[in-house]
């Protein structure tokens, strides 16, 4: 079953970096996952977070307010 990865962020540089990193990790490791960028602030607020970017994996908030490293992303996905 594929994972659902969401990146919450209003479009700041940090959020873009995070998205790019997640895409890299998913592609390099052939992970079956759907990557969704959530840019709508109303939708972001449903996750009750205070700082962006936020990495949500299968509706679980994993990392918020900072850009994760590729290693961290990989660990969270496998």
């Amino acid at each position: 079953m594929g994972r659902v990865i969401k990146i919450l962020g209003t479009g700041c540089p940090k959020c873009k970096t995070t998205t790019a990193l997640v895409e890299e990790v998913v592609n390099e490791n052939n992970i079956d996952a759907e990557i969704i960028k959530v840019e709508d602030i109303m939708e972001i607020m449903e996750y009750n977070v205070l700082s962006t970017p936020v990495l949500v994996i299968d509706e679980q908030i994993t990392i918020k307010g900072r850009v994760p490293s590729k290693n961290e992303i990989l660990k969270l996905l496998v």
């Binding site: 209003t10 700041c12 940090k14 602030i41 109303m42 977070v49 205070l50 700082s51 962006t52 307010g65």
Partner: protein, 325 residues
């Protein structure tokens, strides 16, 4: 404290590159090496220290603290103090605003945080120590905190809830003080360190180009603008200097790293320190991009009032500095 950096700069300029003492280029290069090394070092230390504080005291904890505790009037000061230790990225300002308001934190307290956070941050403090010394830094930090506190309290008195955008009002109505599900990450220091370290490096990487360009421009101005050049235009007695500097600064947007080295030279060349600080606070504290983001949660009128009150507070503190210092 920084003698050894001066020695390194001297050694490099006179012994390695073999420039002659007193030569214009030699002095400029010496100044540049000394200043950049000193400032980057200070930035590193302070960003690292703030990173540790922040790792143990993330924004979620700040929110919970402010929404749970009855602080009897001190909440503005507390929010403002938290603003200092919390790194602020303007793109987080909207989620942060909603999150605070949802947590039952009064609007004025939220504003106090929003004002101080960009104004007094790790990068500004590091640069300030390097360029102006400890005494000026303390004054800047304290006035930044007071500025947030006072603007927040004033904004609260104005009862601005009615100027929020409709969907935020709705959020407000449904706000129960969420007993939050925030579970502090239980990590040891050695687990935190790599994450803090990465943050430090990424912040440094972001500001280093600005710092270097800023110091280079500052260095050039140092050499070519005559001493006391600005005094004739912007003396302390010129009552319009502070408001004009502030109002010019608000639409400008730069992080502290680019603007501070230039401000330092302006001061050295005769611009009164209060006028310079007002300018700097206007640039760093308020900006058009931030206003654009806040439009999602505030009506234009509210943004206007918010910026207006803060601008007035900045102008007042500019005058105060010019009188005291």
């Amino acid at each position: 404290m920084f003698d050894w950096i001066q020695k390194i700069a001297d050694w490099f300029v006179y012994d390695v590159v073999h420039l002659d003492r007193g030569q214009h280029l030699a002095e400029a290069l010496n100044f540049f090496i000394y200043d950049t090394t000193k400032i980057l070092l200070l930035l590193f230390v302070i960003i690292f220290f703030m990173g540790i504080v922040n790792s143990y005291f993330p924004i979620d904890k700040v929110r919970n603290f402010l929404s749970r505790n009855k602080l009897y009037g001190f909440e503005y000061l507390m929010a403002s103090l938290f603003g200092v230790v919390t790194p602020f990225c303007s793109c987080s300002s909207v989620p942060l605003f909603i999150g605070f308001v949802k947590g039952g934190i009064p609007l004025g307290v939220t504003f106090a945080f929003l004002v101080t956070s960009p104004l007094v941050n790790e990068v500004a403090i590091g640069l300030f120590i390097g360029l102006f010394g400890l005494k000026m830094t303390t004054i800047y930090v304290i006035s930044g905190i007071l500025l947030g506190t006072i603007s927040g309290a004033v904004l609260q008195k104005l009862k601005l809830e009615r100027f929020l955008t409709p969907w935020v009002k709705k959020v407000l109505e449904n706000a129960q003080r969420e007993q939050d599900l925030f579970i502090a990450e239980k990590q040891t220091f050695s687990q935190r360190l790599p994450i803090i370290w990465k943050e430090v490096l990424s912040i440094l990487k972001g500001v280093v180009p600005y710092v270097i360009v800023g110091i280079a421009i500052g260095g050039l101005m140092h050499g070519y603008i005559p001493e006391g050049f600005f005094e004739q235009y912007m003396s302390k007695d010129n009552l319009f200097a502070v408001p004009i500097a502030t109002i010019l600064a608000v639409p400008m947007y730069s992080n502290a790293s680019g603007i501070l080295p230039v401000v330092q030279v302006l001061v050295a060349k005769g611009i009164p320190i209060g006028t310079a600080i007002a300018f700097m606070m206007g640039v760093v504290g308020l900006s058009l991009p931030e206003a654009m983001l806040l439009k999602k949660v505030m009506t234009l009128k509210l943004i206007g009032i918010f910026f207006g009150v803060v601008t007035i507070c900045i102008i007042i503190s500019g005058y105060l500095f010019n009188i005291i210092l």
